[in-house]
């Protein structure tokens, strides 16, 4: 058991923070959000140069072999800087699935472009009726000769409006499978959706889209299981992103209350406000603990993975909301205006609470796991494998 970051990890953390501080300040970020595409190609290729896009992938796939901890450090920095580019959707989610399920050719082709920054795949899985039941999809794939015909609707595809390739899930003989579908495939309609956090997604409709047999990803694999595991990696990353935002919120609040003078002294000199900021700090500490457990659980056996990941999403959803609300309150009217990043952090946390499972969904999922007394009473320390 060791929970200290390695020197390499601390270096990565520092460089990630510095890069975004220098190249992605709030003003720049707002320009990107307001732009035509809602995406900055320059930043994306700089991320490629920094190796962020290669980070989680194995060396044999051209990656850097980074683990969940390295990802968590990037995500904290992304949270603080409110990055709208699809690191989570394309690298962690879609890229991760390709690495798990793809054939050697598929990995080489898709991950190659992804790591180079020239291609951005997106997963199109959940549907309107799915709720939190990942198996509940209606899209179908019908084999006809050498091709598959895919039909279905995939709303709110994360990273969809920046994607050139979609990994579309559909039922093949009643079994969930993934298919690689080019963004410009005939019969594929993509509608851009502006999101509450300033980023963009797509509503996809597939009407008899034909793809070659080679488009099937991981023919033999338990695709649904891998999709769930990928969602858990995403949720661990979201937990770390939220922690980054919470730290940014308390930093901003401390700074503002020190500088804002009312009744002849800085707000930070009022004990009632001091204690409320201290309570915010308590929540930030706890959130950090939860997120770290999620991070260190993504490769654990499924029940432990769920305990770590859904536990973090449930707890952080609740306490990050209250930290954001307090940050607004302690900023007073300024916190209610779009001129400070407070509201943008608040809205991103709100989006996190409602994506890849809501806070309530994750609490329920966690609750089902700890109904087993062995899980509830078990130590977090694990035996070596």
């Amino acid at each position: 058991m060791d929970l200290n970051y390695s020197d390499e990890q601390l270096l990565l953390k520092e460089s990630a923070e510095r890069f975004l501080k220098d190249r992605y300040d709030f003003e720049k970020r707002n320009k990107i959000v307001a732009s035509e595409t809602g995406f900055d190609a320059g930043i994306w290729s700089e991320m490629a140069d920094l190796g962020w896009l290669a980070l989680p992938f194995a060396e044999e796939n051209g990656g850097l072999g980074g683990g969940a901890v390295e990802i968590s450090l990037i995500m904290e920095a992304i949270g603080r800087a409110l990055v709208v580019e699809p690191y989570l959707a394309s690298i962690i989610l879609a890229g991760g699935l390709v690495e798990k399920l793809g054939s050697e050719e598929q990995r080489a082709e898709i991950l190659g472009g992804l790591i180079a920054g020239t291609s951005r795949p997106a997963l199109a899985h959940a549907e309107r009726q799915s709720g939190f039941d990942l198996g509940n999809i209606a899209a179908t794939a019908t084999p006809s000769g050498e091709i598959y015909r895919i039909s279905g609707e995939k709303p709110l595809v994360a990273g969809g409006s920046f994607a050139d390739i979609f990994l579309v899930s559909a039922k093949l003989d009643g079994i969930v499978k993934l298919f690689v579908v080019p963004g410009d495939a005939a019969g594929l309609t993509r509608t851009e959706v502006k999101l509450v956090d300033g980023s963009r997604a797509s509503d996809l409709v597939l009407d008899n889209v034909s793809v070659p047999a080679s488009a099937l990803l991981g023919a033999a694999a338990d695709t649904l299981f891998e999709i769930e595991a990928a969602h858990d990696r995403v949720n661990a990353a979201l937990a770390s992103e939220a922690v980054g935002i919470m730290d940014a919120l308390i930093d901003a609040t401390v700074a503002y209350t020190r500088e804002r003078v009312q009744f002849g002294k800085p707000l930070a000199a009022f004990q009632a406000l001091q204690h409320r900021m201290a309570e915010m700090a308590v929540k930030c500490q706890e959130a950090r603990g939860s997120a770290l457990l999620a991070t260190l659980s993504v490769d654990a056996p499924r029940p432990m993975r769920i305990r770590g990941v859904s536990g973090a999403r449930a707890k952080i959803g609740k306490i990050s909301r209250s930290v954001a609300q307090e940050a607004i309150q302690l900023h007073g009217a300024m916190g209610f205006s779009e001129e400070m990043p407070i509201g943008a952090w608040f809205r991103r946390l709100y989006a996190i609470e409602n994506t890849f499972g809501t806070t309530a969904d994750h609490l329920k999922r966690y609750g089902e796991i700890i109904r087993d007394p062995a899980m509830l009473s078990g130590s977090l320390l694990r035996e070596p494998v």
Partner: protein, 400 residues
């Protein structure tokens, strides 16, 4: 002691209902449902105010002599409840509820006869000019300055968070006319024509996506002395009178119950994934908790009303309690509503006003506006005397 209406009050309630059924048209109701902010879009608000004015009901709290209704507190309470129940656009703001009582109490005859009727007719829409970039809770530290020059003041400085100033014709403002003595003593209350040269307005977008607030700059703006309310240095007393008025006076029970009822309707519709939230025990428990909060607040409002009717005053602890609890209840309802949107919470419609968008079903429109309503609700505990200020008031009373 009882909660019974008199026969007359029942008749009055029915008259109000009949009027609302007949005059509060669907387009107005829809615009209000789709409005995430404090006040209605002025186009909507003024349209509704005109209908009320035709009936003589535009200013429920005004005495008859000024064109008001002359209603009893109980009648005003019933009117408010019925209007909220029916979903009227909220537009009784700074004009009718703030500057008007000030003019009635402190204005001279000329000011009364000129300004009050223009408020009722909608010719004038007023903005508040209190807060400044450097003066929020600590209002008395304000720095905007008015210097007397013959029969006019030359005003320089800036006011912020002025609701709807970009639609308003006039602003009532607290300005500094002297630096001697206590800082409260140098403050004067003046009326500024926002069409005057030297006035510029900068929009401030709120985190709910609406442009409702503004910063207003004054650069050598001329204000005739005849547009001063009361004497020089009397501004602080006038402001205190108004803050008290703003705090204790208004009813919120009606709007809270209306929001709760809308949430109940929203939760009664099946979600895309087939669940119906009203059958979810956690949701129902939370809804029930909030409903008990609304009941309690109603009782506090009715108790305060009874005290005033009996010639007493509600007291600062109940008044500040109501201010705090109303903000929290409103925030809880909005937060609970937003929490049941699921993934659709991510979709955010930026167009304002929302009612300009093509019509959807009631429920879809509730879902469209729910996130913005939640974001907007966070301001409830900040504006009009923050909850921290209310806690200070209560603590001072407890420890007096």
């Amino acid at each position: 002691m009882d909660l019974l209406m008199t026969e007359e009050e029942v008749r009055f309630r029915n008259e109000v209902r009949t009027f609302l059924d007949g005059h509060l048209d669907d387009d107005l109701k829809r615009a209000e449902r789709l409005n995430p902010s404090f006040l209605a879009d002025p186009a909507i608000g003024l349209k509704w105010q005109a209908k009320l004015n035709d009936k003589g009901w535009a200013a429920p709290s005004w005495p008859k002599q000024y064109g008001g209704t002359g209603w009893t507190l109980a009648e005003r309470y019933i009117f408010d409840q019925e209007c909220e129940r029916a979903g009227e656009p909220h537009f009784r703001g700074a004009s009718i509820k703030m500057i008007a009582p000030v003019i009635m109490r402190y204005g001279n005859e000329a000011q009364k006869s000129f300004y009050l009727s223009r408020i009722l007719s909608g010719e004038d829409l007023w903005a508040q000019g209190y807060s400044e970039p450097g003066s929020g809770s600590d209002l008395a530290s304000l720095k905007s300055r008015a210097v007397l020059d013959g029969d006019q003041y030359i005003v320089n400085g800036s006011k912020i968070w002025s609701t709807l100033a970009h639609h308003a014709t006039r602003m009532f403002a607290l300005v500094r006319t002297a630096d001697t003595g206590k800082k409260q003593e140098g403050i004067t209350f003046i009326l500024i024509d926002l069409t005057s040269p030297g006035v510029t307005i900068r929009p401030i977008r709120s985190i709910c996506g609406t442009h409702e607030f503004n910063q207003v700059f004054f650069d050598d703006v001329k204000v005739p002395v005849s547009d001063r309310i009361g004497e020089e240095g009397e501004g602080w007393d006038i402001a205190k009178y108004l803050l008290e008025f703003e705090r204790g006076g208004a009813f919120a029970g009606g709007v809270l119950r209306a929001m709760l009822t809308r949430l109940h309707r929203l939760a009664s519709q099946p979600l895309p994934d087939g669940r119906t939230m009203i059958d979810d025990p956690l949701f129902m428990a939370r809804l029930a908790e909030i409903a008990t909060d609304v009941d309690a607040n109603d009782m506090l409002e009715l108790s305060a009303m009874s005290k005033v009717q009996a010639g007493g005053n509600p007291g600062s602890v109940p008044s500040s309690t109501m201010k705090i609890e109303r903000s929290r209840i409103r925030q809880s309802i909005a937060e609970l509503a937003a929490s049941i949107l699921g993934p659709d919470a991510l979709r955010f419609e930026e167009h304002r006003p929302l009612h300009e968008l093509p019509e959807e079903s009631d429920i879809d429109e509730e879902r469209t506006v729910a996130s913005a309503v939640y974001f907007n609700s966070r301001s409830q505990s900040i504006f009009g005397g923050s909850n921290e200020i209310q806690l200070e008031i209560i603590a001072k009373t407890l420890l007096r």
